[in-house]
Amino acid sequence: MISNYIKLAIRVLGRNKFFTAISLFGISFTLAILMLIVSVMETEVGQTPPLSEKDKMVIVPNLNLKRQFYDTIYAYDTTMYNGAQVIDTSFTLNESGQNNSNNEFAYWFLEKHLSNVPNAKKFTFFNSNNVYNSYVNNSKVEFKTVYSDHRFWDLFDFQFVEGFGFGESAVENEELVAVITTELADKYFGKVENVVGEILEMDRKNFKVIGVVEPAGIMLLAVDIIVPYTHDNIDAQRRNENGFGGYMGMFVGEKNSDVGLIKNDIEFINSNTEVPAVAQDNYDIIEFEPFSFHEAYAGQILDLDDEEESLKWMKWIMFSLMGFLIILPTLNLINLNVSRIMERSSEIGVRKAFGADRNTILFQFVVENIVQTFIGGLIGLVMAMLFIYIINDTKLMGDVILKLNYRFFFFSLIICLIFGLVSGLLPAYRMSKMHVVSALKQNKL
């Protein structure tokens, strides 16, 4: 029976080509935009390499050192006590000002305080704030550099084109080794294959390439080259200072529910950590707040003071945007479908006369609408893939490389199905309720 409905749906689409073209354009354009949003979300917050464990991840991005100043305000008053006048004194403490410094961490601080978080299965400390320039064949090549420890490669599952990441001994022995992206390999060496073993100059040091990876393609980690943190000269100078630097801590739990436990661990460590000795003259409060990946991401996008609040807002904005993008075209499609099905009221009458009950009619029209939506969805998919290609090729979203993976296709399928169901159900329900005699009287066959 379904094959009959599908056959009929395709024939009905061919009946009024102009109407079908308008309808399909609306469906495909809407679905293409929705698929594009899915791709952005999937790339940025989905479980995609090199951050396949975002749901289990906790980030500690900043160290905050504070001192609160108080003013004491004394109040003098006279009162009568046993017939004699006495002076009554009281005082209040008012916050008058605050010393507040906020920055990323020095490596030593993270290593000292956060290298033993009980519920973290994996962790790494890295600095992604460095940009160096080099000149190759008289043109400037910009390196976005990450300094990291060897644990970086456990946590980030970069896709290696060749070679591998550096190990603990390479970091400790300050070996001049680097892992670069294919993009940088292409810019610097003019090739992406057989790059391992080549020498690359950065920050007046010659690094030997030991690995080549696909670009990360996410906003949170814009990187061209990863080298051992022991080559970070600035950080080396910061040892024994107040704890500020350019590093952040990233932790991964065994399972998603470990995120809360890791956050608790870090908060507990924070409560037992003292302000570094050299900073105690200026500060008496130390804070380093842990965030889930999604909170940190939302905080970076919306730039509100509170990351949890940012995540709430971001969810609201995304759901509203998706809802808005679905509801308006759905209403339009419902309207189009009602007039389209109305033209077929006589057919409904005939079908009912020959034994179709209400549910059968409902099912038929919903199937037809889903077929129509899936045809629109296929066109939308092609459009979305074209948009994604253009966005990636023109670097419209900076370092973000939008991804197309099976989850993207799965979510696109779900969106098509929901769109088809929602836009088809109401008109089909209305028509299935139509009285058979009234339907036959329409006589539009």
Partner: protein, 221 residues
Amino acid sequence: MIKLQNVNKVYRTKTIETTALSDINLNIDKGEFLSIMGPSGCGKSTLLNIIGLLDEPSGGEVNIGGNALPNYNTKAMAQFRNQQLGFIFQSFHLIPDLTVRDNVELPLLYRKVGGKDRKRMAEEALESVGLKNRVSHFPNQLSGGQKQRVAIARAIVGNPEIILADEPTGNLDSVMGNEVMDILLELNSKNDTTIVMVTHDENMAKKTHKLIRLYDGQQVA
């Protein structure tokens, strides 16, 4: 086979009440060919719709094949129509997006008959009306007479006990009308199919076993 007792049909709006049928009593035996005549708006089609379980009477009792109408719910009535009744309409009511064969298969589709059997039965029905060579055509590629023959094939494909025909020759010229009437008469005589036909044509009515006349919703003969 079909028994109507004191059947009424009243259409009510907020301001007007229109009596379409009043105290209709009818007894149609199995294998009988009955024609219903009367001027336009006298209630012929309403009566046919009530017999065909497409519409409910406002009063009275409808009994078809021993089953009283109030015992049926909507789903059961749909099933009864599918199993026991076949309809032929004046304006054919073929579905334009379906081929001739798909149109004829329609009642079998709702009986959940398998694809191969549907195809065979539809082709047999089309052969019986002389249209086997048109199975893959679409309705707009057929003449009026051919369309009505397809409609007859659709009505008989499931071997219903009763065929209800609402002015089946009304949109056809006399030659085609006679062809269609001959098919109906053959169906009635060969298969013992009970046929109730609404018509304006005295000549067609004369060929049937029994004729009733309606006037302003009342049975006058």
